[in-house]
């Protein structure tokens, strides 16, 4: 009996030891995040816990290379300030923000988005603080009471270089000679595509009938904006609707594509930045000010985007290139309805 009990004790000890080892490994892996954080270019601070007054936590959907360039320059010019960056697609950013709101509150100090429609969504939930009076955006730049434009994105057409008679206007995309040759991005996945949908819907002569005509002409909705460029470059489609920067980057590497600046104009979308209600101390304002400064704007231009500051030149545009812009105020809050109508055309 005593031998059995001793054996049982031995078994239980081994079981507990195994569980302890497993728990130790888990704890070790969990601790790894903090130490790994310091090794990354994205941050020089701890990866979790409350931030100090000299730490700014930035949530962004802006492309990685642009965020890296701006944050690196900012930390170089503000040695006492650390920036922790969480970068994800708009959908994943939304998921994280929604989860955080239900688990102790938003943990970001600054949000830098890709389009004003998503940002307005954060503002309407009361997540954004009033724009700090100490930071002055360029006079002509788009802004609201909580966020301001940092860079401009142009929704243009991409065409294959071997396309004999490329389209010149948006309306040309519905012409029979481009039947079955047009790719468009999914507005549910890309803020810029949603903004373009908004401009077409608002503009007389286009409206949602434009999308009906596109569908009738065999246009295909692919995934996100870069997918349009890849599809056209690889020859699955001859023309597409996408962003100028994407085309410029692919063409520079040798893809057989080019930008078409359509009539009556490329659709201009701005990428806004805002301070959240959680931000305390001056560091968040410093980051906002830096992004809108000449140096920050230059970094934005260096990574292929059009800065909002006039004195910083962006990527070159042909003289005939014109731009148009949606009525943002009218669009705010109507995304859901607009998308639902669009889905009756390009939906299941």
């Amino acid at each position: 009996m005593s031998a059995t009990v001793a054996r049982l004790g031995h078994d239980v000890r081994r079981l507990l030891l195994a569980v302890g080892v497993a728990a130790g490994v888990v704890a070790l892996a969990a601790c790894g995040s903090a130490s790994a954080g310091g090794a990354s270019e994205r941050t020089s601070g701890p990866s979790s816990g409350p931030t100090t007054s000299s730490t700014v936590r930035l949530y962004t959907s802006v492309t990685q290379n642009t965020v890296d360039a701006v944050v690196q320059a900012f930390t170089a010019s503000h040695p006492g300030t650390k920036v922790e960056v969480f970068r994800a697609t708009t959908g994943q950013l939304n998921a994280r923000i929604a989860a955080e709101q239900r688990a102790g509150g938003l943990r970001a100090d600054v949000i830098w988005g890709t389009d004003p429609l998503s940002m307005e969504g954060y503002a309407s939930q009361g997540l954004l603080a009033p724009w700090p009076p100490t930071v002055q955006p360029p006079a002509h730049a788009e802004r609201t009471s909580t966020f301001a434009a940092t860079r401009l994105l142009f929704v243009v057409m991409v065409a294959r270089t071997d396309l004999a008679d490329p389209p010149r206007s948006w309306a040309d995309l519905t012409s029979p000679r481009l039947r079955g040759k047009v790719a468009i991005p999914d507005p549910a996945l890309a803020g810029s595509a949603l903004a373009a949908l908004g401009w077409f819907a608002q503009t007389p002569g286009y409206g949602l009938d434009f999308f009906r005509a596109l569908r009738a002409n065999g246009a295909v909705q692919v995934g996100a904006v870069p997918q349009v460029v890849t599809d056209v470059a690889q020859g699955r489609h001859a023309v597409g609707i996408t962003l100028d920067t994407e085309v410029r980057a692919a063409a520079a590497k040798g893809s057989p594509i080019r930008i078409v600046w359509p009539q009556p104009g490329a659709i201009m979308v701005y990428s806004p930045i805002a301070r959240t209600v959680r931000a305390t101390g001056p560091s968040a304002d410093d980051l906002l000010g830096f992004v809108l400064s000449r140096e920050g704007q230059q970094k934005i231009a260096d990574t292929g985007w059009q800065p909002v500051l006039d004195t910083v030149p962006g990527p070159s545009r042909p003289p005939e290139a014109r731009t148009v812009s949606p009525d943002w105020t009218a669009l705010f809050g109507s995304q859901r309805t607009l998308l639902a109508e669009y889905r009756t055309i390009f939906g299941p």
């Binding site: 990354s40 994205r42 290379n65 939930q125 997918q227 460029v229 040798g254 893809s255």
Partner: protein
Amino acid sequence: MTSSLAATTGRAADGRRRGDLNQAGSVARVLAVALVLGAVALLVGIPLWSLIRVAAEGGWVAAASTVSASRAPLANTLRASLAATALAVLLGTALAVRAQRGTLPRARILAPALVVSLLCPEFVLAVSWLQAYGPAGLSDAALHLTIPGLLGPVGIVLVLACHAVPIVFFMVRSALAARREAQLELAARASGATGWVVFRTITLPLVVGPAGAAASVVYALCVNNFAVPEVLGAPAGYPTLSTTVYSTLSLASDRPTFVSVCVLAAAMVLLTIGVLAMIDHGGVIGSAAVRTAPESAVPRADRRAGLGWSAAIIGYVLLTVVVPALALLAAAVTKAAGLAPVPSNWTTDNVVRALQPRYLAALGRTALLAAVAALVLMALAFLASAQTRRRRRATLATLIAVGLAVPGSALAVGIGIGYGRLVAVGTGSILLAYLAKFWAIAHRPITAALDRLAPALGQAARAAGATPATTIRTVTLPLTRAAATTGGLMVFLLALHEVTMSSILYAPGAETFAVVVLDHQQLGDTGVTAALAVVLAAPPLLVVTVLLLLRRART
């Protein structure tokens, strides 16, 4: 008289010892049950409860309306997942049974090829097929041949099924390896049974357990797959629940949107668990009437009769592994999208950029996380599989599969809400997410293998005085090692490739490798994305190659 007394005393002592051992076994089982139930509550219960609470915020009418508005994605998901599962299970099981019997020609090519196919990350899988067989793809450029319907449901089913065949193959094969009891089929044929009778009475019972376990894993993975329907379904206007969840999340982070996402996630859980519960309680868990013939029992004529199989396997490997892998490699070494993959357009830039130290650090971090997840889940899987009552085991299997059924983005949100105040976002929460998501992947192969073990082996060991721990160590573990290794390796690979949960939960500065890939995908950088996928596949490929070479050298 003295010897008779001694014998009686000895028997009495043996009886007491067996009683004590049974008592010890019961205590260990109770402890194991408590541990498993605790883990189920922590890993599955809390995140799921968080989601259900959010989903219920809008009320049942709103929830019903959300589900009703998503009827088309719901039906598409169900159709595509069932079709892909059926295809994968039929093909994978047939290959596994023949391979296990030693009657599969070209088995030496097939197994490594299937490993390579598993190494291709899910997020570049559809793109590599598109570049291989789509319009303007490799086959189109070389032979003017494309797969009709690749962009649409046919393509989704085909790619999902081909990706799942290796999972079925390795799961079924490892389960069959747990027991080698010979010659029933041969004896039946010798006794005059027809091929159909042999199949119905011997072969089918042989595979139903392992194939059912594989089917449940594959079905859950198909329901949750995002990248394949996103790339191949969007151009054809074929949304699934996973793509709908993602596009809904992209629209806003406000309360109504978030509630809709949680409702859709709950619908996905029901869609998966409904089917899994039918499989689990329909006799798959606990079915033990399985036998297979050893290699020596296979007649030579049967080995030679496989010319058709041989051609089919070479064709299958070429079409589903070699050509898509070549398309991926071509993209990794070509300067830009749209350029022909000829030497004049080759570059090493993409690979050099993929190998920068920051990305390699992310790869190391991801590999460590995946390895820890695999080890912990293998231990948990053994504990959960050790339940003796069939009904309890089936219920536990279904419960554990809930984590696999929840879409990645929703599970990440559930963990964020459930543990947001306790576990800081970052590696700790990602590990929790991996454990919750992939537990079923480790659990099902082990359960299937344990079901095949002859109960007499364990009983004999116990009767001979072995403790439960000794029985497990000397009898159970050696016979289920192949299944445990299969489950562990699958968890490791799936965790290595996981992107949806990691990209929501990673801590600033501690991104996983898949998040790095996603960054480049978003930039439209097809070359670097392909090179990163190759870099991701390289370390496990190297390990598998070394293991195969060692095994070959030993045999």
